[in-house]
């Protein structure tokens, strides 16, 4: 394997930054947001400096250059996730907006397509391991429509519990995470799709934690919708994606109304643009989309298989090293099958906020502490919070060694 992590690290300027007090940065928080490589930064800078204008409407050189770059980004992202058509890639501001867009298209009285009608007696299925962004929009949908919200539980070792009849013939949509942002668990999408298909339900995946780290082919996954976000995949914040099957996107009502999403407007009614523009009201995050295009170019250049393999090695190394620390308990699967490079844990008798503060201040180690926007999952495990280390293509085993040293020091402070 010709994966040269030291060469990759040179592409990310912030990784050679010195923190106040002369500490080296050890960035183990990519599950929260990833760092950005020079090609992404330069592409965005260059576009802002030399090509920027509004997209899809301006009849001049800059307008066409911007439009071309924005739409080229859509092509790149469609290819990156194996979308059968570029028109199936809808730009949103993040994965939360993508999931909200979808949730608002169900139970909308302006739409009579039976796949998207929702009311009392109908069921929405999620899981206990979801990020709040794949819980709250569905709670709100249930409140708006009177539909019932149900969920899969989570087993003690952090796997989705598919037993029981959670999905029934009343289920209209199943929306679950592809990879848990806390447990690292990669869920069995094929089995979930099979269960949902039997019930005639739609399937949505929150792929915010999988698309950045694994080769993902949306057509092969078999789901109807896949949401992900740019900032976790070496792209900028402010840009996300909803992929959906074209005929479903066409059958859905628009989400936000405004410029660019219309075909024709009268004072009392409008007709809408074809997908994906039907869902892209107003001036979109142009430079962010172009930056995300550069991000997928960069990831493709490194190779998603290589990135996945590197993270698998890091995860194996970290799992061994962390489990040797007394009083450390991993929350999530400890076996390496079907899991990604996110490891959450508790340290006996020490609150995660204290762990995070000492790791940061004394060692320059950035981890995330808290409930990671997955409070119900923490309630499930009877804990208020965890410390989470999440790895990406630029992390090294040396950084995991630093984390282990840091955790020993934390234990010394609280001994």
């Amino acid at each position: 394997m010709s994966f040269d992590v030291e060469r990759i690290r040179k592409d990310f300027p912030v990784l050679s930054r010195e923190l106040p007090g002369g500490r080296t940065l050890v960035y183990l928080d990519s599950g929260n947001s990833s760092q950005k490589p020079t090609p992404v930064i330069e592409t965005m800078r260059e576009h802002l400096a030399m090509h920027y204008s509004n997209v899809g409407r301006a009849m001049h050189v800059l307008g066409s250059e911007s439009t071309e770059a924005y739409e080229a980004a859509r092509d790149k992202i469609a290819a990156f996730v194996g979308a059968p058509s570029r028109d199936e890639v809808v730009f949103t501001k993040n994965a939360s907006e993508a999931l909200n867009l979808l949730a608002y298209s169900l139970g909308n009285r302006s739409n009579t397509d039976p796949r998207f009608t929702l009311g009392e007696g109908d069921e929405i299925v999620i899981s206990e391991m979801e990020h709040h962004s794949n819980i709250v929009p569905w709670q709100m949908l249930a409140q708006r429509t009177g539909a019932t919200l149900k969920w899969f539980g989570v087993t003690d070792d952090g796997r989705l519990d598919l037993s029981g009849d959670v999905i029934t013939d009343r289920t209209k949509i199943v929306s679950v995470t592809h990879q848990s942002n806390v447990l690292g668990t990669v869920n069995p999408v094929a089995e979930i799709v099979r269960l949902a298909r039997q019930a005639g339900a739609l399937v949505a995946l929150d792929a915010s934690q999988s698309v950045p780290h694994h080769p993902v082919d949306v057509a092969a996954l078999g789901a109807d919708f896949v949401a992900f976000t740019g900032h976790k995949m070496v792209g900028p914040s402010g840009i996300g994606v909803l992929w959906g099957r074209q005929e479903l996107l066409e059958a859905m009502p628009p989400f936000l109304g405004g410029g660019e999403m219309i075909e024709a407007v009268w004072m009392d009614r409008s007709t809408y643009a074809p997908v994906p523009h039907k869902f892209e009201a107003g001036t979109p995050p142009i430079v962010e989309a172009i930056g995300l295009g550069a991000a997928v170019d960069y990831l493709t250049g490194v190779g998603m298989e290589a990135i996945e393999a590197h993270e698998r090695d890091l995860t194996a190394y970290a799992m061994r090293a962390l489990q040797e620390i007394s009083g450390l308990k991993v929350i999530g699967p400890t076996d390496l099958g079907d899991r990604g490079g996110t490891i959450s844990f508790t340290l006996e008798g020490i609150h995660p906020h204290d762990v995070g503060q000492i790791l940061d201040d004394q060692f320059g180690i950035a981890v995330r502490v808290g409930h990671h926007c997955a409070r119900p999952l923490h309630l499930r495990f009877g804990i208020p919070a965890t410390t989470r280390a999440s790895f990406y293509l630029y992390n090294t085993t040396g950084e995991i060694d630093a984390l282990v040293r840091g955790l020993h020091q934390v234990q010394k402070v609280f001994a």
């Binding site: 020490i350 609150h351 995660p352 503060q357 201040d361 208020p384 609280f414």
Partner: protein, 145 residues
């Protein structure tokens, strides 16, 4: 390292051996306060005898700063008068909200001066203040009884 100034020996002592922890009877008011950003929480009871703070009992979960602050609060308020205790709360609040620029009044604060370092960490100030705000709330409620 700045955390050295935050994790004072005295704070760690109170965290490991909290004073007055546990909910006790009798009490005139019980309050439950949470810090939604980090999930720290405290249930706190106040028992007054006339103008005297006869007991402050509490149960909570959270980081060392929030739990040690509750322990120090118990020590400083129990046995004092309500008026005295509220002036300690005011001085502690002033110290915590002073972004590390406030010179604490040691005569008023006693052990609570150990939290001076916390004021430099805006994210942790709420941890230190959680139980103290709960106490203030409980005193107001018990006085209203």
């Amino acid at each position: 390292m700045i955390t050295d100034s935050m994790y004072q020996e005295l704070i760690l002592e109170h965290y490991k051996r909290p004073q007055g922890r546990g909910l006790r009877e009798p009490y005139e008011a019980e309050v439950h306060h949470v810090n939604p950003t980090c999930g720290d929480e405290i249930t706190l009871r106040v028992h007054l005898e006339g103008d005297k703070v006869a007991d402050v009992s509490y149960e909570g979960q959270g980081c060392s700063i929030s739990q040690a602050a509750a322990s120090v609060l118990h020590e400083l308020t129990k046995g004092s008068t309500v008026t005295e205790s509220l002036s300690v709360v005011d001085e502690f609040t002033r110290l915590m909200q002073g972004r590390g620029q406030v010179e604490p009044d040691e005569d008023v604060l006693g052990d609570a001066v150990a939290f001076a370092g916390v004021a430099k960490f805006p994210a942790r100030v709420k941890c230190a203040l959680l139980s103290w705000m709960a106490y203030k709330d409980a005193v107001v409620r018990s006085s209203a009884v």
